[in-house]
Every structure is written in structure tokens, then in C-alpha cells.
């Protein structure tokens, strides 16, 4: 199968000289269309930096990324962001508190250049409906009028409205209650089902990675230390760090 995204020896260093910090060190992996890959690691493992590199919010110090075989450096940013979108950790911070949901969505649609009002409206409605929200009730709302779960749904709606090929979900559930996490993860599952979108799911919670993804990359100090299908990584982990991570997860049953 042809890869959607190929990441080749990607590195990013912050600062220089003695205080240089290599947040991401030579990360390589392939992502197939429609695949969900989880990047698991604790804070400081470089997983969020990797997310920002893939989103091109940050440029790599070294390495290369290919989107459908094309070097991403050759793709203009606005075009790239039509194919690659994001959902972030804190659904409150991701909103500009001064603007309504409608404005948030309309701004995202400007990526497609001028669209007829009718089409803009249709796209916004469709996206909100597909995450289980009622457009008429939500569009005029401001972030403080929405619950945490609703806010994260709106952010997912914003992303899928743009019909990207790849969605980078950077800890999309860690600011949410446990009772809401499954709901948001199910939403991501359904999005993949319906639109065939690939998802890179960044998380510190191996349980969530296990539930949602097809493959897992375990990151430790900027490097991918283990990679493989979910069952293999969780049930027969090889690397000592992965083993420790799994043994430190509290047992729930038994």
C-alpha cells in the first residue's frame, strides 16, 4: 500500500551550543492511508514536538517528510494544511474566547479561498452534525457557553470540515473527564471509518493508545524506542522502557 506520510530521520534541536536540547532525534516512520498510529511517551519525550513538526508549525533541524510521495517543503503551507489538520489538548485554550463557533469554522474555511455563502454554511452544518452537535444551537455560541466535551467536538468538527487526509490529535482527551474520553476517541474512530482519514494520536496514556490505534510508536527522550502493531507492543513488548511504562500502569481488574 502506498504511504500517505513518510517521515525520514526527522530531528529538531532547540537552542544551540551547550544548552542545545534535541527534542526529536532521527524519527522515521510511515503512515498508511486510513491508519491510526499512536505516539506514546511521557512528558518531555518529544511527542508534542513531533506533532508540531508534522503539522509544520515548527520546522525540523534535519530530516524530511513526504506527503503522498511529495517533499512537504515543496508544498505551500496553505495547501498542506488542507491535507493535514489538528486537534489539540486543551479544548478551552484552542478557542479564541472572543469569537463564536461560527467564526472559528469560517476562518478555517478560508483555506479553500472564497466559497459561496451557501456552501460554507452547508459544510459547517455537515461537520457539526457529524460530531453529534446541532448546528443551529452551536454556531452562535461562544466557548464559555459550551461544555468541555462540546468544545472538543467543535474542534474535531473544525478539522473534519476541511476533509484532511491526516489528522494530528495531540493529547485530545487529556484535559477531559474519563467519562468523556471514550466518547471523543469513538468520534475519531468513526471519522476514520467514514472519511478514511489517517490519524496520528499523541498520548501519554497507553490505555487510550491501545483502544484507538492500529500501531504504536513508543517515544523516549526524543527517540522512537519501539514500534509495531498495538497487540504486539502491549502484549509482547521488547524495549525495557515500554515494559516499565506498561508495568507502571495501575491494574484495573483482578
Amino acid at each position: 500500500m502506498k504511504s500517505l506520510l513518510q517521515v525520514r530521520a526527522l530531528s529538531r534541536t532547540f537552542g544551540s551550543g551547550k544548552r542545545a536540547l534535541q527534542a526529536v532525534k532521527g524519527v522515521s516512520f510511515d503512515l498508511a492511508p486510513g491508519e491510526i498510529v499512536a505516539v506514546v511517551g511521557e512528558s518531555g519525550s518529544g511527542k508534542s514536538t513531533l506533532a508540531r513538526l508534522i503539522l509544520r508549525l515548527l520546522s525540523p533541524t534535519e530530516g524530511q517528510m513526504l506527503l503522498e510521495g511529495q517533499d512537504v517543503q515543496r508544498i505551500p503551507l496553505r495547501t498542506y494544511w488542507r491535507s493535514v489538520q489538528a486537534v489539540f489538548q486543551d479544548p478551552y485554550a484552542a478557542f479564541n474566547q472572543f469569537y463564536s463557533v461560527q467564526r472559528l469554522l469560517q476562518k478555517a474555511l478560508t483555506l479553500f479561498g472564497p466559497l459561496p455563502t451557501q456552501e460554507r454554511k452547508a459544510r459547517m452544518h455537515l461537520a457539526l452534525q457529524s460530531v453529534g452537535l446541532e448546528p443551529e444551537r452551536i454556531l452562535g455560541k461562544y466557548p464559555h457557553q459550551l461544555s468541555g466535551g462540546q468544545r472538543q467536538r467543535v474542534m474535531v468538527a473544525r478539522a473534519i470540515m476541511l476533509r484532511p487526509r491526516l489528522l494530528v490529535a495531540d493529547e485530545p482527551t487529556s484535559a477531559l473527564d474519563a467519562s468523556l474520553r471514550a466518547t471523543v476517541l469513538n468520534l475519531l474512530k468513526d471519522v476514520r471509518q467514514k472519511h478514511g482519514m489517517s490519524i496520528i494520536f499523541i498520548t501519554h496514556d497507553i490505555g487510550q493508545a491501545y483502544y484507538l490505534s492500529d500501531r504504536i510508536l513508543v517515544m523516549y527522550r526524543g527517540e522512537v524506542v519501539e514500534e509495531g502493531p498495538v497487540e504486539q507492543v502491549v502484549e509482547q513488548s521488547q524495549h525495557p522502557y515500554t515494559k516499565r511504562l506498561l508495568s507502571d500502569v495501575p491494574r484495573f481488574h483482578g
Binding site: R52, L55, L57, L77, R78, W81, Q85, A86, F88, Q89, D90, A93, A94, F95, N96, F98, Y99, L104, K107, A108, T110, L111, M155, R158
Partner: protein, 279 residues
């Protein structure tokens, strides 16, 4: 929004400062409308004490001090407003660009800012007064404004740098927004209260700068201002001759204005900046 206003109104400091400022502005705006005499026209002799003819007496050249106070206050406020707006605008422009773009741009702009901080306003004024035929109210205000923005720029830069990493800024970038659009729509709204407070401080300092410069003889030509009244009083030896009415009213007015502006700023700060809020 209403709750913010209610919080402000519940603060004594806010009410006092706003009341004083409203009185001051009313005096400067309504005064000259009610009394249309020319303030630069002598009405009596040298240092006539307060009387029915001139309720605050006359100055060294026989002008009515009360009339001069009304007009001089207007000039001082105008200079303060123009200089404050100019300084805030430049400061916000440079501060947001440096804070948002970071890197080389940040270093260049902040280097430039630090250079401007070290240039005393007076040097520029002396040079300009040699170069210019006459100093008008507007040119003086511009000079004050153009030399006093660096502090605002630094503060705004720090705020911008901390706002820049917020997730909604990333979301705006991912929606294809340009740098200027992000600064305008994602950064500035979050700093609005902060910028307004910076403007209040700039206003206070510009009014005092005008007074200081005028006192040194570098004030605006062909008009009267609070600073120029003080300059005349000092040159005319009002203190030695005991003509307190010539220097006390402008001094008190300047004190009242800057004190109430600072008071206003601190009460705004307490409401807008939750960390300072007392439990």
C-alpha cells in the same frame, strides 16, 4: 462585561479617580466655552493678588491666572492624549511584532528599542528646536510620543511572547491566517485591557513630560500650557515675591491629574489582572 464594570464601580479608587478626571476634563472643555476671553491678553498688572476681577489673580505679565489655567489645561491634555496615543501605537506595533516573530526580528527591534530608551527627549527637543521654525502643540506632542514608546514596547513584547504559544494561535495558523491577522485577531484582543492601562500610564507621563520640557523653556510656542505657566512663574520670580497664586494652581492641577491617572491604572489593574485580586 457588566460584571467587570460592576467590579470597577465597587472600588473606591476607581470612583475617585474617574470623578477627578471628569472634573478636570469638564474644566478644560467647558471653561473656554463659557469664558471666551483670550488668555494671552493682559487684564491687570504684575502679580495682582486674587480679586473679583481675576479670581486667581494675575501672573507676571498681568494675564488672568484662572483663564490661563483653563486654556493651559486644555493644551496639556491635548499634548498628553496625542503623545500617549502615538507612544502606545508605536509601542504596540513594535512590541507585538518582536514578541510574535521572535528570533532575529525580535533581537533587531528590541536592540532598536533599547537604543531609543537611552536617548533623552531633551536632546532631541533641543536639536529640533534649532531645526524647526516654531514648536507647535502637535510637534511637541509627537516628539514626546516618539521618544516614550519603548517601555510600552517591552511590556507588550513580553505579553505577546506568552500569548503566541497558546493553542488558539496554532489553530489560527492552521486555518491559514497571516501574521498580521493573527496579531490583530488572536493576540490584541487578549491584551486590550493591558494596552489600555499602558495608554493611561503613557498619558500621565506625557502630561508630566510636557510640564518638564516647558519648564526648561522648550514648550509649545504661541499658546499656554500648565508647564508654560510654571515656567513664566519661575522666570518671573513668583516664588521669591510670594505670588503663590501664579505657581500653586498649575502645580496642584498637574498633581491631581497624574495622581488620578495612576489611581485609575491601579484599580484597572486589580480588576483586569486576576493575580492581583484580593480574596
Amino acid at each position: 462585561m457588566n460584571s467587570l464594570l460592576a467590579q470597577l464601580l465597587s472600588k473606591g479608587r476607581f470612583r475617585v479617580s474617574v470623578a477627578v478626571l471628569l472634573l478636570v476634563v469638564a474644566f478644560a472643555v467647558l471653561g473656554p466655552m463659557l469664558d471666551t476671553r483670550n488668555p494671552l491678553f493682559a487684564v491687570g498688572g504684575r502679580y495682582d493678588p486674587p480679586s473679583a476681577n481675576a479670581i486667581l489673580g494675575t501672573d507676571v505679565i498681568g494675564n488672568d491666572v484662572f483663564l490661563q489655567l483653563m486654556h493651559g489645561l486644555g493644551t496639556s491634555l491635548k499634548i498628553g492624549l496625542i503623545a500617549g496615543l502615538v507612544a502606545t501605537a508605536i509601542g504596540v506595533f513594535i512590541g507585538t511584532l518582536a514578541g510574535f516573530l521572535g528570533g532575529v526580528v525580535d533581537e533587531l527591534l528590541m536592540g532598536f528599542t533599547n537604543v531609543v530608551i537611552t536617548i533623552p527627549t531633551i536632546v532631541i527637543l533641543i536639536l529640533l528646536s534649532v531645526a524647526l521654525e516654531s514648536r507647535t502643540l502637535v510637534s511637541l506632542a509627537l516628539i514626546i510620543g516618539v521618544t516614550s514608546w519603548p517601555w510600552t514596547a517591552r511590556a507588550v513584547r513580553a505579553q505577546t511572547a506568552s500569548l503566541r504559544v497558546r493553542e488558539h494561535v496554532d489553530i489560527a495558523r492552521l486555518s491559514g491566517a497571516s501574521v498580521f491577522s493573527i496579531i490583530l485577531w488572536e493576540i490584541l484582543p487578549y491584551m486590550f485591557s493591558y494596552i489600555f492601562m499602558a495608554f493611561v500610564l503613557q498619558l500621565a507621563s506625557a502630561i508630566l513630560s510636557e510640564a518638564a520640557l516647558s519648564l526648561l523653556g522648550l514648550g509649545p510656542d504661541n499658546t499656554i500650557s500648565l508647564g508654560k505657566m510654571l515656567q513664566l512663574a519661575i522666570q518671573g520670580e513668583a516664588i521669591r515675591t510670594g505670588a503663590y497664586w501664579a505657581f500653586l494652581p498649575p502645580t496642584l492641577l498637574l498633581t491631581a491629574i497624574s495622581f488620578s491617572l495612576l489611581l485609575l491604572q491601579s484599580s484597572l489593574d486589580e480588576v483586569f489582572n486576576p493575580r492581583l485580586r484580593r480574596a
